[in-house]
Symmetry: C2
Subunit: 344 residues, 2 copies
DNA sequence: TCTGATATGCTCAACATGAGTATAAGGAAA
DNA sequence: TTTCCTTATACTCATGTTGAGCATATCAGA
């Protein structure tokens, strides 16, 4: 108890100059800003030269900035302010994702060194022009996770590169039980051996690839150059940003099923095909069109506006809008994914 | 960009003595440790005298300790170590809940004052003996949220106290649209006006009650004594700990539906009634027995052990065990709640 | 008007769910 | 030892939801 109240006391003692004293803990704020434009889910990145890591060159990074207690009234405000400064975007929907804390604690960070923890946020926006200080770019998030896109069937990357690599990782386990445990993890993560592919296990998959040292960052984090095999395992990112991105992807994939967040990514009026393409882009799978329609329409999630989109190239499609009342009617309104469409 | 790398540089500069310099940001670690014993879900609390708040006396608090970068290798390890010190418990299943950051930023905290952010964790254990430095107690979590327990029908507290109080809060809105918005929030949160009761909206409900100043902390946080009406709105806690607890409750209620976490709260072998009582305790509702049984048994979540519990007071019940293979077979294995049983 | 788009409507079997009734197997009271 | 109360477990059945597909509507352009 003594330790606890002592810490609180010292925390409460006012300081004279905020920026003069070296902070013992730096709190970083990271934003995963997502938009979807015609079939492709995009994430906003800035490019950054990472002194800390081997390999030197500029790497993709998430918009990031340290929390400034003197300026930022809350964590979320701090995040919004950094995002605005670096990308020019005023964020709308924002939710906290996860707080990452093991970073800078691996051997190379030095003993007794400072600690950086990052509070990561997920933001959903409609794609828009960029401005701000950083060189910000929208990027297809499947550039970072090519194995996550199953919209045109199971990616050959999995069977051709990942599975064999994981197979050899299996054999490196210390003993039989450890091998078994690794095999189970692999099968569940990648949907092998009559296990279904679970779209939400994105973080598990990335962490597995990291642990098996298949992915670029696994080498650069210990100061080695990226091995050539890692080339087609997605673009690497600075620090642990790809891990944060994997967390965001998984969270979003889960969330669209029980909360109407997709609509944050769509204009106020949209066709059902448009809605479906956005959901498919996020979930990384194809859906059965007629059933999808039935689900969102009869589920009360959308309502027709009476207006039509003539640009379809076929029969004009009715424009729909999000039906706000659904929030009252159903406990967990979202796009529960109807079974995937058979391979095209 | 400049600001960003400058901050990183300063973070990287090693310090001489960790405890000598006043940290600008203190990172707190909070643990919500949950167990269930015969029908009642319990949370582990320590009692603590809160100098900062009016009202003086000792209040219930969650096990808490500041992150010590010099000692704790990761956030989670830090948390485990504090929990062990204060309660004597070695935590098993632990998951990160949320990072709370607006604390100590309200007017009374002083300008330019230090910042405390808290990273909260949820831990699930089987109830056990307590030890450690703190005066730790297991408490029924419905002591803190009496309106959340619907196991014997809708709590009269809601119709008798909460609804009227919220009604007057409605009328205090600045204009009509604001009133409308408040009414919608209230209806959705508390399942009024043909909106179903959503067991997972625990945080929304607590925050609503806080905003409407119905709950004890709303007064004490601005230095006033707790008004008498707040007496039956649950035990207050120190600081924002009740908010953290509400978050934990909601998260756990959601999670049991799609991940087999309930089994962390049960012994290796249990009867189906036992399992059901634990789920009901968490969800705060009664379930239809036969359907519950069908769900977990045919869903492959459990398997019979061939042994029987003779202590039932009726026909002996078979003992079941968690069936690990379900992790491979189904994407989101959990106790999807079968419809509530009609009021008894 | 025919063809190729896309949108939208409708059907049907399989499966899941809500809400029971019926039967089994203990202990305790009569 | 019979009756009754208790809890466990089995089975039923109407209804709802889902997967999968066929059928029809409405546009553009050949």
């Amino acid at each position: 108890m003594a330790t606890r109240s002592a810490a609180l006391e010292s925390a409460r003692r006012p300081r004279k100059s905020a920026s003069a004293t070296a902070p013992s803990v730096v709190v970083g704020l990271n934003a995963v800003i997502v938009a979807v434009t015609d079939e492709v889910p995009r994430v906003l990145t800035v490019s950054r030269t990472d002194h800390a890591l081997a390999g030197g060159g500029p790497a993709d990074a998430l918009p990031f900035g340290p929390l400034r207690p003197e300026q930022h009234r809350t964590l979320e405000r701090g995040l919004r302010s950094w995002a605005r400064q670096q990308t020019g975007i005023r964020l709308g929907y924002v939710e906290q994702l996860y707080t990452f804390g093991d970073r800078f604690r691996d051997p190379r960070a030095g003993q007794g060194g400072p600690w950086m923890i990052s509070v990561a946020y997920l933001a959903l926006v409609r794609e828009q022009q960029l401005a701000g200080s950083g060189e910000a770019h929208w990027r297809d998030w499947y550039d970072y996770f090519p194995w996550e896109d199953w919209r045109s069937g199971p990616p050959s990357l999995i069977s051709q590169t990942i599975t064999p690599a994981l197979e050899s990782w299996l054999t490196q386990a210390s003993d039989m039980p450890a091998t078994r445990a690794r095999r189970e993890r692999r099968d569940i993560a990648f949907g092998l051996h009559r296990t279904p592919w679970d779209t939400e296990r994105t973080l598990e998959r990335y962490e597995l690839l990291y642990e098996a040292r298949i992915v670029g960052e696994a080498a650069s984090d210990v100061g080695k150059p990226t091995p050539p095999e890692a080339e087609n395992l997605g673009r690497p990112m600075a620090l642990d940003h790809r891990r944060i991105l994997a967390t965001a992807l998984g969270r979003l994939r889960g969330k669209i099923k029980y909360r109407p967040v997709v609509f944050e990514l769509l204009p106020p009026a949209f066709t059902l095909s448009h809605l479906q393409r956005v959901v498919e882009a996020l979930a990384g799978i194809r859906l059965h069109k007629q059933n999808f329609r039935r689900l969102v329409e009869r589920g009360g999630l959308v309502e027709g506006t009476g207006q039509y989109d003539e640009e379809t190239g076929g029969r004009p499609a009715e424009l729909f809008a999000f039906r706000r009342e659904v929030l009252r009617e159903r406990a967990a309104p979202g796009v529960r994914l109807p079974g995937p469409q058979a391979r095209v």
